[in-house]
Symmetry: C2
Subunit: 416 residues, 2 copies
């Protein structure tokens, strides 16, 4: 991390003939789709990878590959075949140890292989935050058995949170209110994910006022010197554990904003590399607690499709391509609200669009996913307003107006 692995870029050639920078996008969901769009707008060539065909980013990329990205051999094979200038993880579920090896052989991983490895593991990340970045966090313990779990929960107190070691947008998290719930919560957290992990994080249940994401860009400034730009706080609320609704800006007392800025810079400095990071924090009164960080665009940052001229995806593409940026830019009050599937099946159809778009300042982003399952995100409503409250209301009403219906395709699947 002493030398930035992304070089300052003066020239961009042509895609599809071998002279444009080539991005290998590991994960091709809706966040990846926007990264692909913004990278292509800057003249890059994009190869989208995911474990299933017709993923959102595959539909816009120059070409795509379907493979299990958690398989080190398959991951290595696609890198050696495509020879990307940049390996750009979009999700956590990637063979990160293989990324470390690939980086050591000279391939460029965004933001860097170690950051992708640390941030997908709650224990490594928390130790990094506490020991190296020295930012405040909630009290926590890492336990390796039910016995340890009981001891830790008693020590930390009830309610507390049990979290699986692989951090992934709130998946694998349980609130534990009493000792009788410990066994089940430990079992669920340790069995979550493709590879069971006996390590489980037991964490203090913070009584926070706000959950915020600090989008933080590590990039080149115009003088070709590395710089860090922190955007206005994004606040979010979730009825369950998954991302549901976010807005920007969230106005907080100046000293709280200053502390959030400090935490965002310290955490991202300790991870290094180029691109956008979503630094998640809790605000309780005047106190700020670091929670976790995505070394890539963050779900809650979907709001920047409305609140920023350069969305988090545009910023990420620009920074990882080594192009300079001078920010931050003004924030427009905006909100984003997810559109979720209820049923399961192929070829979901989204209805109620007339009502969803019946108010001013609303846009829909529909992801074109080939299959639905309960709570799968099929789209997002993004709204602007004179205030964030107006934007939140508009986005919520639009998202709630959309109904996902599962039908079977009226024609046999076609290749595209």
């Amino acid at each position: 991390m002493s030398n930035p692995p992304v070089a300052f870029r003066e020239r961009i050639g042509s895609p599809l003939v071998g002279t444009a920078p080539r991005l290998l996008l590991l994960g091709s969901g809706e966040l990846g789709r926007e990264i692909a769009i913004e990278a292509m707008r800057l003249g890059a060539e994009v190869i989208a990878v995911d474990r299933y065909p017709h993923a959102p980013a595959m539909q816009v990329a120059h070409r795509h590959r379907v493979l299990p990205m958690t398989d080190p051999a398959e991951l290595r094979a696609v890198v050696e075949q495509e020879r990307p200038d940049l390996i750009v993880p979009e999700i956590e579920q990637v063979a990160t140890d293989e990324l470390v090896r690939l980086e050591s052989e000279g391939w460029t991983v965004i933001p860097n292989a170690e950051a992708t490895r640390i941030t997908m593991d709650r224990e490594r990340l928390r130790r990094r935050a506490v020991d190296l970045a020295r930012v405040p966090t909630s009290r926590f313990a890492v336990v390796r058995s039910r016995t340890e779990a009981h001891a830790a929960a008693r020590e930390i107190g009830f309610p507390c949170l049990f979290k699986s070691m692989m951090s992934s947008s709130g998946h694998g998290m349980t609130r534990v209110d009493a000792p009788t719930q410990v066994d089940a919560a430990y079992a669920e957290a340790s069995e979550h994910g493709r590879v069971p992990d006996p390590r489980v994080m037991v964490e203090e249940f913070l009584r926070f006022d706000r959950e915020v994401t600090m989008l933080t860009l590590r990039h080149y400034g115009p003088d070709a010197r590395p710089a860090t730009t922190v955007l206005d706080p994004i606040a979010h609320v979730r009825p369950g554990t998954l991302y549901h609704e976010s807005w920007q800006p969230e106005r907080l007392p100046p000293e709280v904003e200053a502390e959030l800025d400090r935490v965002a810079r310290r955490v991202t400095d300790s991870l290094g590399g180029f691109g956008i990071f979503g630094v998640e924090c809790f605000v309780a009164g005047r106190r700020v607690y670091f929670s976790e960080v995505s070394p890539r665009p963050h779900d809650t940052g979907l709001v920047t499709l409305g609140s920023q001229w350069n969305s988090e995806f545009a910023l990420h593409a620009r920074a990882i391509l080594g192009l300079p940026y001078l920010g931050p830019e003004p924030t427009t009050p905006a909100a984003a609200h997810v559109i979720l599937a209820t049923g399961s099946g192929p070829a979901p159809e989204l209805g109620g669009l007339g009502d969803a778009l019946a108010e001013p300042g609303v846009r829909l982003y529909l992801f074109g996913k080939p299959e639905a399952y309960p709570d799968r995100r099929l789209g997002v409503a993004v709204a602007r307003g004179a205030t964030v409250d107006e934007a939140r209301r508009r986005a919520a009403e639009a998202a709630h107006a959309v109904e996902a219906k599962i039908t079977y395709p009226s024609e046999p699947p076609r290749t595209g």
Copy 2:
């Protein structure tokens, strides 16, 4: 045109399995690329067509077809094979008579086949404007020989403009200052285009103060009733005849803005159909003259990538998909400035990007075109500013900092 051919849309299915609306994009340049992006963000399936491979919109579309779109048989074949819900011309050079036939057989053409036929022919368009829309235009004559050309030029006076019959963004236009220049100007205008046309328009050379584009959207309102939304005036200047620089908003006296609004509505009402139109007008003192109209996104509207949350491309996609819209929305002062090739050759490389992006509020859109020739548009710099003057300066400096270099590809062309 009594019944809008685009139906109000309540539901959108899944792309690539036959349940999403399918767009056949005729023309796959940089405007088409943005249309494709916005249509795909709304869940549509996009097939990009152009006469050469690796065109910008082909790189983001679900799939693409390479064919001469001026060939009626080839155009019909691709329509019958792809069975699009919407045929969306992006350029004028399409077999418009065949579009008329296809529409009569039930295919939907955007905005409608007759509008695409009228607007590509200066004579038909001018007669429509004068006779049906009854909007003011410059004095003009349509001539069919050199003899008629001399007579018309004498009658209209020098200087005057000679324009080829196919209207296409300033191509095939000559300023004539004296009788000695008439023969050459007539020859050039009549031989311009793929099919020579003896008809040439001889037009009064207006001493105008401003050339403006009124982006006008014909769309559904939230009550499923057709509506028209006119955006703030876009002004542009061009050193030659081609699009070079534009900005939005251009503030004009209220009565001029009202007249521009009236002209934009009358012209687009007389053409009918759904989607965005670029209504070009001259402003001379307090007078407004209609010049021409694109029944699709307009070059000068590239500025809306910075000045509007819903760019002209987003508005076009939304309107032609039959989704409601409530506008207009606030305009942010912005400017766009083209990045042109100087030399010829494959795989152009764009340099100077570090300097181009050294100011705040600047974005580059690079088109990834596989080949350069002099004055071919390879990108556009879009800038925001506190004022349009600041935005214009930023965009101009950014565009001028970019240098196009022609190199041969370092690897053999690859398919994508």
